[in-house]
């Protein structure tokens, strides 16, 4: 297996041994799921597989090795850089981002105080989601969202695990560097979950282009306002908008004359349009382009591109809204 150090080094020693023996291609590995007392499961080439103690991939549950509580404890020790207390805020939100931009989802026992999750203790479930930088996957979309030096406000819509973050990352890079006759633009990235830049000690590990400024680990709404005031960007990029505060900040950014690149979870245009928070932005034609990604396809593959009038610019026209 072409092992990425940043993934292997956070696994418990026993797990490292299993993955060392496994014949897997890192490029095809999407998730590693650890559940106390349950079989070791990986998502590989869009399919769920069990891993045996010998590192053999299979479909029979009986052959799979069982994940122990000790493995999860040890893995958490490495993921938190030996300092669980220093990651409390991230753990409270249910995820941690590790070197390389990979995200680790966390579940266990939630400690609730006044209807707020204060802590997650007895961590028993981990989902290590591997981030894959796919250079060039945004080329197709680029020509639809950048025209004659103008960057259109764009919303990327897809279900989880379809590559919206990957596509956004590549679009940021292309817009920042410029492509063919199109000049580059100054891009401000508010990277709340460190997934776009995968910053390590403030320096992005992923290529986000030469004119990109990154505000790492900062809430989107506050971050957008800060970046607009301090870095004078032409384009602002954020991942996974959803809350009303995010939408307010988007409006502010648009009023300031910045172009916007954003992503949102959704099954399609209709799904997004039906959400009260986003609906107003759609109705007011604030986004000029909507990119909908294919589900269960190659990461970042585009199904449709719509304009603000609902015309389908790319993809099968009969499905246009």
């Amino acid at each position: 297996m072409d092992k990425p150090e940043e993934i292997i080094s956070v696994l418990a020693l026993e797990l490292r041994r299993i993955f060392d023996r496994a014949e897997l291609s890192f490029a095809q590995l999407q998730e590693i799921r650890l559940r106390t007392g349950q079989p070791l499961v990986i998502l590989y080439q869009n399919q769920e597989w069990y891993l045996s103690e010998e590192g053999k991939r299979g479909k029979r549950r009986e052959d799979a090795c069982r994940v122990s509580a000790q493995w999860i404890r040890e893995t958490m020790e490495y993921i938190s850089n030996y300092s669980l207390y220093a990651c409390e805020e991230e753990i409270r939100k249910g995820y941690l981002t590790i070197r390389g931009g990979h995200r680790v989802g966390i579940a266990g026992k939630a400690v609730v105080e006044e209807n707020q999750i204060k802590q997650i203790t007895d961590i028993s479930f981990l989902n290590i989601r591997l981030s894959h930088e796919v250079i060039g996957c945004g080329r197709q979309a680029y020509s639809y969202i950048v025209q004659n030096g103008e960057v259109y406000n764009t919303l990327i819509i897809s279900s989880p695990r379809c590559g919206k973050t990957t596509l956004l990352r590549d679009l940021i890079r292309l817009i920042s560097n410029g492509m063919q006759k199109e000049p580059g633009h100054t891009v401000a990235v508010v990277d709340e979950r460190s997934e776009l830049g995968a910053s390590y000690q403030g320096v992005p590990q992923n290529d986000l282009g030469i004119r990109t400024d990154v505000l790492d680990n900062c809430p989107k709404a506050e971050g957008m306002l800060m970046m607009i005031r301090s870095m004078a960007p032409e384009v602002v990029a954020v991942d996974e908008i959803g809350g009303s505060r995010d939408v307010e900040a988007l409006r502010y950014a648009m009023r300031c004359g910045c172009a916007l690149l954003a992503t949102i979870h959704g099954a399609g245009m209709e799904d997004v349009r039906n959400r009260p928070v986003i609906q107003s932005l759609v109705d007011m034609h604030m986004f000029k382009r909507y990119i909908v990604l294919k589900t269960r396809a190659q990461i970042g593959q585009i199904a449709f591109i719509y304009d603000d009038q609902g015309n389908c610019l790319y993809g099968r026209e009969q499905e246009a809204v």
Binding site: E5, I8, S9, V10, L13, R73, E74, M76, E77, Y78, S80, N81, Y82, S83, L84, Y85, A86, E88, Q119, T121
Partner: protein, 170 residues
């Protein structure tokens, strides 16, 4: 000739006695330094939320390296070693070899802190370090009060052994 030899033996015994008494004092000083560093560590955890590798690196910085600062420095280096991660407790145990003896501490006393370090939430972790600090403070007080007596014993025993040797050789 005999007289000169006798003087040499007694001088040697006196020197050894002084050295051993000095070691007793050094043990107390090291324990003091250890306590001070653990209190600093508590501050780093409680107020700075500094991850342990960085906190240890800071604690290891010193113009005059001592076994305690060297321990923290090595811990910091090993915890930050990329790609070859080991459990905290294992590293703590390996790097602490020899240090606890220099502080006249039992191995278990030393390992106590390393057992759950970094695996707890801030409040619990801080409490744990606090308890360890309390224990160390008590230990240090005991050591300080016993120091003059221990130094006296070391000196007396050395001189007694020297005198005995002189008598046997005479």
């Amino acid at each position: 000739m005999k007289g000169i030899g006798m003087v040499f033996i007694l001088a040697g015994a006196f020197y050894i006695g002084q050295k051993r008494a000095g070691n007793c004092r050094r043990q107390v000083l090291l324990l003091e330094e250890w306590l001070q560093k653990i209190e600093q560590l508590k501050g780093e955890i409680q107020y700075g939320k500094t991850p342990l590798p960085q906190a240890f690196e800071r604690l290891g910085q010193s113009a005059r390296p001592t076994p305690v600062t060297q321990f923290f420095q090595k811990m910091g280096e090993r915890l930050q070693q990329y790609g070859q991660k080991q459990q905290f407790y294992t590293i703590w145990e390996e790097e602490g070899k020899g240090l606890f003896q220099q502080m006249a501490m039992a191995k278990e006393e030393f390992l106590l802190l390393g057992q759950s370090m970094g695996q707890l939430h801030t409040a619990v972790q801080t409490k744990q370090v606090e308890r360890y600090v309390q224990y160390l403070t008590q230990r240090l007080q005991e050591q300080r009060s016993q120091l003059p007596a221990r130094q006296k014993v070391e000196r007396t025993v050395s001189l007694a052994v020297g005198s005995l040797l002189v008598m046997i050789l005479l």
